[in-house]
Symmetry: C2
């Protein structure tokens, strides 16, 4: 397959300079995916107005799926609203799962944030959408939503509304231009086609930072993450999350402390401080917030050390629900190609689906902890 021959048409379709596109390809910033029946290009870096994760399916017709742009995070809500969200905006729930874009070729196809076709998510979303006529009538559109629930290999978190697997739409875009429909239009479409949508908390203005902060904290106390704030035309978006949710992230990351980037933890520590400040926490209240933070750091690390000292391995265990064992095994191989050190622990064939228990391994955390326990010095 001569990828170069596609580039002039792609450049034209995406309205970018052909030479620049060719250069990006030569530099390795546009990768070729061959893990789907139709080969596809995937933009590794966001450059020249093309978002990271943008995909081009190289079928008889080129089909595009523009990358989902990063939503910026407010550190100090009051300041960020004033600076970035003039006028009215909507607050919607930010779910804690993984971002999936869905397009339709001759069938539903689901793409991860990075633009990799996920056969597992595709299978489930196909099932969810089987009675919806959305793509029949809107072939050029792309559904953008969050997958949540316990049964997935990326981010396992259960929600009452989607214990095992749920897909909640937060944006509908033109797949080729990446342009979003308005919030109103998105709501009309999701209702009309029976598509599950993220929760809507109503309309706010920049003066409502305290109310929004209270809302986010309430969500946090319910084990939920936070909000995305969107101007009604979808032009400006800001995300903001609760410290309780940040503590969840920290608990997870400190369990696998030597496998996670320090920056991951560090940014979260800083976020927590800004939220505590914005809430005006002081005295006992601030100490309580600090204690929660401390527990989220120390306890998972101590549990990890204890487990490894007992000669066990610290792993992440999750389940996937697949049509059959062959599909499941192929998907775990796919995960391995993506760099996830996964092994299948158990396969149980049910009537409707096969449940596969998967173990994810974190060699750095296990090896390093074992080394320290055996007396190895710290590098400082």
């Amino acid at each position: 397959m001569e990828i170069e021959t596609y580039l002039p048409q792609i450049a034209k379709d995406l309205k970018v300079d052909k030479e620049r596109l060719e250069e990006e390809y030569r530099k390795g910033n546009i990768l070729v995916g061959t893990d789907y029946k139709i080969p596809y290009l995937r933009f590794k870096k966001g450059e020249h107005d093309i978002e990271e994760g943008t995909v081009v399916f190289l079928g008889k017709q080129l089909v595009y799926a523009r990358g989902f742009p990063k939503i910026r995070r407010a550190m100090f809500l009051k300041g960020a609203l004033k600076k970035h969200l003039e006028g009215k905006f909507k607050a919607e729930e930010k779910l804690d799962g993984y971002n999936i874009r869905t397009v339709y070729l001759d069938e539903v196809v689901c793409l991860t944030r990075k633009g990799i076709v996920c056969p597992y998510t595709t299978e489930h979303v196909k099932e969810l959408l089987k009675n919806s006529k959305f793509f029949e009538e809107h072939r050029d559109m792309m559904l953008c939503g969050e997958v949540v629930g316990l049964r997935n290999p990326y981010q396992t978190k259960s929600y009452p509304e989607a214990k095992e697997f749920g897909y909640f739409i937060f944006d509908i875009k033109d797949r080729k231009t990446g342009r979003s429909v308005s919030v109103e239009e998105r709501d009309r479409l999701t209702v009309k086609y029976g598509l599950p949508c993220v929760r809507n908390f109503g309309v706010f203005t920049a003066k409502d930072s305290e109310r929004l902060l209270a809302l986010v904290r309430k969500l946090g106390s319910e084990g939920r993450e936070g909000v995305v704030l969107k101007s009604l035309d979808m032009e400006r978006q800001v995300k903001y999350t609760s410290n309780q949710s940040t503590n969840n992230d920290l608990r997870y990351a400190f369990k696998f402390v030597f496998d996670y980037g320090q920056q991951f933890m560090f940014r979260r520590l800083i976020r927590e401080a800004f939220q505590a400040y914005e809430l005006g926490l002081a005295g006992k209240e601030l100490e309580k917030e600090a204690a929660e933070l401390g527990k989220s750091i120390l306890i998972p690390m101590v549990e990890t050390i204890k487990r490894i000292a007992e000669g066990k391995e610290v792993t992440e265990d999750f389940e996937i629900a697949v049509p059959d064992a062959t599909f499941g095994k192929a998907f775990v191989e796919h995960l391995k190609h993506l760099g996830v050190k996964a092994t299948i622990e158990h396969v149980s064939k049910g009537k409707k689906e096969t449940i596969i228990k998967v173990k994810r391994h974190y060699p750095s955390t296990n090896d390093k902890t074992r080394a320290y326990l055996s007396g190895e010095f710290c590098s400082d």
Copy 2:
């Protein structure tokens, strides 16, 4: 001054290959200090058996001051003792100050860890040693010790035994070879010459990890740092510190959160977990330890944000005691050359000495915090 002409003699004296030494000099790993009346070379990196911070004074005679080697840190005391400290060893107090080597040329000269002549420390140590005949009788030796107390520009921490300025010897070395005298000989010399020495907690073996852990925690509860464990021949040394002291470090670093390396904090979080594990903390005890950790992280950050939100600057304020204002001003200039953003806030001339109040500025923390408060997005 032709530095190259000194290199053959230095190579011979230090028993290293001449070509290699010349190469290190060409590569910029050996710097020239001209801030002292006698110019000196300073080894930036520890290589070819020459410790980082090694100094060669280029006077009529070459005078050496070998760098003080890094003492490795135990993460898990029980494991580290078993692995690294066979037989009997001594436990001495690790003071929380800065490492200073003192040699004698035609006068006392004090060197920082990196091998920079510190005129301020030199002035004070000269005063402390003025009645000691140590260097008169041991011209080839080098005193290695910790400077502690409130009045210094590097690490301000008061000790009951040295509120403002103290210098406590922990090692005596041959200045040219870097070879340490035995613990016994060091004790004999410090007693004979009236030199203050770090505290001695007695002799232990690898079986005493629990006792040592209890000792370290007791030191921590007294606001002290920890211990250095030394084989009696000084050949093997291990340091170990208390979580309480680590929390002190964290409180300080999180106050200036954007000016500190993430690794600084990160390593300390991990240390705390290993200590909590080794102590067998669980349930309420572990929660208490976690709460202390959390407070050390969150509270200083919130205080910093609050202060900056009030339009103030977050700075580090310290005092130095100098012979006169001219000396003080020159020393603050010296600090600036070392990269410390310092300004003189107040000069008060006393009978015996002049006290200068210095403010150290942390531009990253102040700027970044201000930006977030004004609504700037976080980079993730």
